[in-house]
Symmetry: C2
Subunit: 433 residues, 2 copies
Amino acid sequence: MSKNKKKIYKPKPVSGFSEWLPEIRMIEQQWLDHIRRVFESYGFTSIETPSVEEIDVLLAKGETDKEIYTLTRLQADPDDDKEARLGLHFDQTVPLARYTAQHFNDLVFPFKRYQMQRVWRGERPQLGRSREFVQCDIDVINVDHLPLHFDAEMPAVIYEALDGLDIGRFQIRISNRKILLGLLEHLGIDDTIAVTRNVDKIEKLGRDEVHLILAKECGLSDEQIIQILDLATDSVLADIDPLNDQMREGLDELNFVMDQLSHLPDHAIKADLSIVRGLDYYTGTVYETVLLDHPEFTSSICSGGRYDDLAGSFINKRLPGVGISIGFTRLFEVMQNFGKVQGHRKGPADILMVLPSEDRRADASETARLLRRRGFKVEQYHAPQKIGKQLAYAEKKAIPFVWFPPFDDDGKHEVKDMNTGEQSETSPDNWTA
Amino acid sequence: MSKNKKKIYKPKPVSGFSEWLPEIRMIEQQWLDHIRRVFESYGFTSIETPSVEEIDVLLAKGETDKEIYTLTRLQADPDDDKEARLGLHFDQTVPLARYTAQHFNDLVFPFKRYQMQRVWRGERPQLGRSREFVQCDIDVINVDHLPLHFDAEMPAVIYEALDGLDIGRFQIRISNRKILLGLLEHLGIDDTIAVTRNVDKIEKLGRDEVHLILAKECGLSDEQIIQILDLATDSVLADIDPLNDQMREGLDELNFVMDQLSHLPDHAIKADLSIVRGLDYYTGTVYETVLLDHPEFTSSICSGGRYDDLAGSFINKRLPGVGISIGFTRLFEVMQNFGKVQGHRKGPADILMVLPSEDRRADASETARLLRRRGFKVEQYHAPQKIGKQLAYAEKKAIPFVWFPPFDDDGKHEVKDMNTGEQSETSPDNWTA
């Protein structure tokens, strides 16, 4: 046994917590940068909240089915109950509600914010479901009344955000819960939650199966069920007769939203009355988004809707809002799984600066600085090794250009395009890629 | 009592966990974007690791004095010991070591990575010390041998990164531990850790106080102490006589590093042999950075150094590295405290698009889209309210331009500069700010 033998703990990935190699991380950054750029281009402003909230805040709306991670200091005194009970946030909506209430007097309304942070849920991991993941959310909150303009803006923003990613065609499906709820009111059905949750399953289970469930579990008559399912599967809004004020309001709102989106490709936007979203707190417009070119992944990659009361648990104000959330990590992992995320560059450098000899180090550094000031990303080779070795390094990292500074005082600058193999004289003052 | 009376939980900030209003967050984003841009301009590539590691990984180098937060699912079965014991990472070095070991075969060396993530420490909060904070780290890792080039690159990168922030003048202080350790070897002093830790306090306690401590705690003779303190306070490297190989190596290395930084302003870079860094794992070059225009904040805002063995706990390879870390949140909070971070814009929009009337909505939207395609950030006003009200909204959010699309079919576009008050005819096809 060697006396230098150390105890080695061989690390392995922790299930549900992903990390990427640099070449994949670069693409993840491009995706996130693009989404951020689109959000900001519509005037949404960034906020970030702490990763933790008090447990009382996380549970302010009542128990949640999300698996919350709580924090304990490793060296905490178990008898010390003065420490705040903290948990990692499981979404960005509860923190938004708490933030809006807490900073109410310092915010300008309508408050248009985006938030792109990690959230945590201690769930059983599977493809598209991690224990730590990034969500990209936009919401607009107003006091008392929120104009319908924002219901229409959400899908416009999301279309641009998703369209810039390499995910193929997708479809944002839009409905308005008032239409179905209006029909249920008209039919005298009280247990709207059970009915809407089952209507939500039409795409997954098919119409016949949902018919049976509605009869068995909700005790509805065939006639009632047929009216409900006809409505939910009707895609021509103009054909629908509003049977009461609630239905009419829902149809008007949905028509307004669809009108504002007429500039988008037909396949990308669809009115779909079977979309009701399981969450009970949505009160009007609702959204879901599916991948059209990858129908084998049936879950929604981007969902949301309008709600009447964002922060009633935290402040005595009526704060209606509308929001939508891209399940970023889910989407990125699923596209990787489909082989659609392939990075080859191992770093951001545009140029590798060759070091011809130790004597020329100052000159190489100065050339690199000059090119950086001109906006190029320049990695400097670290030692005066053989040129072949320096070129091999550029190749291994897929750096597109290799720069040769003068090899002596009378020499010239040359640059080699690693894709074409061409090498030519140049100057750091005016070279362009 | 009203029947609508709800139970309200008034949220308050959780000590040690900060969040910013939108106008401050915008500046934080600008700072982070700038730092990232500089890191990438030198070819550093981004990685992110999960926020959590197994406790065994966090403690692989032995117990730490950092206060680790461990995770427990709120609904976990206390008798289930099959769940991985997880803790939030307290720095980015342990995760880097684990990552490099785990992905060793997929990385290109020298591995130049940057990492800008949140880390957590359950410490008592105070100004410049939070329980959740962002660090911006760069490190270069190589196998077996790491060229000195990278020791010199670190301060060059950091100078550019910090120089782009509004923090006044700062100074990066550089030393090489081999110089002092060489002298201690020459003097026959074995307990180098105790001595270097006390030398580190010269700036804080003064030379005389440290003299007393070294005599009392380390049992050194006056003659030994004078030699040590003379060296530590000597700022002219050329005056120092190397007394053995270790000292000579340290001086050569430090001279090389200082030579490579001669392009930087004199005040920004200083060889300072009193810098030894408390951490025992640094083996050569060490860095600290202080604010020159805010001497009342004495802590280092950016520190690091060279180490021989990054990941010996996780892989049977010799992986030397050099790295430096900006304590981002510390710096940002301290500068806020000095009144140096003042945001007035409440969002990113360059332009507010007026909505003249419901009839003109399609045209306003189309104009906004056109300007967005040209790279402008355009917020669309949401309802056809009085123009005065729309202007007041732009003013409240400090949006610099207000755009008036045609009020009728024969109308023209006009744009108002909110700073000068000037309003003029324009076209969305060729307007520039």
